[in-house]
Amino acid sequence: MSDGGAPTPEKGKLALYWAASCGGCEIAVLGIDDKVLKVAEAFDIVLWPCVMDGKVRDIEKMPDKSIDLCLFNGAIRTSEQEYMAQLLRRKSKVLVAFGSCAAEGCIPALANMNTREEIFQTAYHDTPSTDNPDGVRPQIETEVPEGTLHLPLFYDTVKTLGQSVEVDYYLPGCPPEPDRIWDALVAILTGQLPAPGSVIGATTTVCDTCPRTRNEKKIKEFKRTWEIIPDPDTCLLEQGVVCCGIATRAGCGALCPTVGSPCIGCYGPNEGVVDFGARMMTALASVIDSQDPDEIDRIIQEGIPDPIGSFYRFGLANSLLRRKALAHNGDGRVAEPA
């Protein structure tokens, strides 16, 4: 560290890293306001690319497990991000998947509905704003007179942090609410932590904190948000709006439904759930008010035109199937069974 002076021996070391994500998590850290000073009291920050200069090689040189806490936000989209995840895992005592991208893939992982080839085709060729007459594409290796330049490998499938390395704790949210961040930091600092591998958060869902009145549910028609001016006091789902609050872990304080906007599921699934989308699918389907297969089909097709966007907006990478089928997976099995 160049600016903090010599670290006092009792101070811990903190690293924050940013992989495939929007940067919102970085800002969310600042959302804890003046409590950030308490963080500074407790830790020396050894890596925080967003805020201060630092070199990866400095981290590489550190002994293993010499970082006390690493808050890692962002999903794993490239080989460089995976390398950093592995590096920080090795150097950190506690690695936290910070925010939805690291925890479950989030918006970057919606790219799993496409292949690398499709993404490159769009990004480097098809978009109207692209001017690329030579059809240049990023290469992993480029020879220049000075030597070989490297770019990270762009993966076909976005992964979560947990799918790349072992994660100690997960802090969900897009981004995590400042209060929850502080709660987690307090828990980490005081050592009052749940079992490794678990999520630091509530064990119930958004409905628990939602002020709207809930009744028995029967849905004849799903509505998109622009099709309805919802009644301010009744459960949005009962009004036909696909609200993910039923399945989404509490922690946000039901910010969206409180102001009439349905929950989109950024806090991820509740404790113990393996597939967020499955919970939404089964819950919504269960309360469709029809016994006629054709009508049920119609209600679903018309009401939920984009099931992945509706049910896996934040969790596609972390879902059981993780992505859309790759065309080339069909014939050749990747691994032979034993």
């Binding site: 076909d156 699918m281 049910f311």
Partner: protein, 165 residues
């Protein structure tokens, strides 16, 4: 794997009251059917969480069959209507993920319909055999060349350190 050697693995979820008894009946009547299905007993087709289907596919199953009492005939009165709804919803999502129709099937079979269940299993096995392996884990296991690229990085960093600032 050569095409002729491919034998699909199909997981079946059968309700205790109708379809599992149909499987019993198919057995008692010595009706031969394809050995590719492996059956899990649930009390009602209404117990079949979409997660089960996704889990089976993610584990590498080539297809999943849900079987229950005919609509209107459920031993729990009307729970299989919920199965229809969830099945339709799940298929909607599976379609979006590029999974072929034939791989996930809902089959009604009452306790007396052993032959129907057996022929449905045969039909499904044939269909899935024709589609070929699904082997879903293969979809995310192939970020090809990632290990090389990852391992190149520390080398590069080490080299970079040699360069005077």
């Amino acid at each position: 794997m050569s095409e002729s050697a491919f034998e699909p693995k199909i997981v079946g979820f059968l309700c205790n009251w109708c379809s599992y008894r149909a499987a019993d009946l198919a057995g008692t009547a010595r009706m031969k059917y394809e050995p590719n299905i492996r059956i899990i007993r649930v009390m009602c087709s209404g117990r079949v969480d979409p997660t089960f289907v996704l889990k089976a596919l993610s584990l590498g199953a080539d297809g999943v069959m849900l079987a229950g009492c005919h609509p209107g005939e459920c031993h729990y009165i009307e729970q299989n209507y919920k199965t229809i709804r969830r099945f339709k919803m799940l298929k909607h999502t599976l379609r979006a993920l590029g999974i072929e129709e034939e791989r996930v099937r809902l089959q009604w079979a009452s306790a007396g319909e052993g032959a129907l269940l057996a022929s449905a299993i045969n039909e499904m096995v044939d269909q899935v055999r024709e589609l070929g392996p699904l082997y879903w884990p293969g979809n995310w296991a192939d970020n090809e060349g990632s290990q090389d690229a990852i391992q190149a990085l520390p080398r590069e960093h080490a080299e970079a350190m040699e360069v005077p600032a």
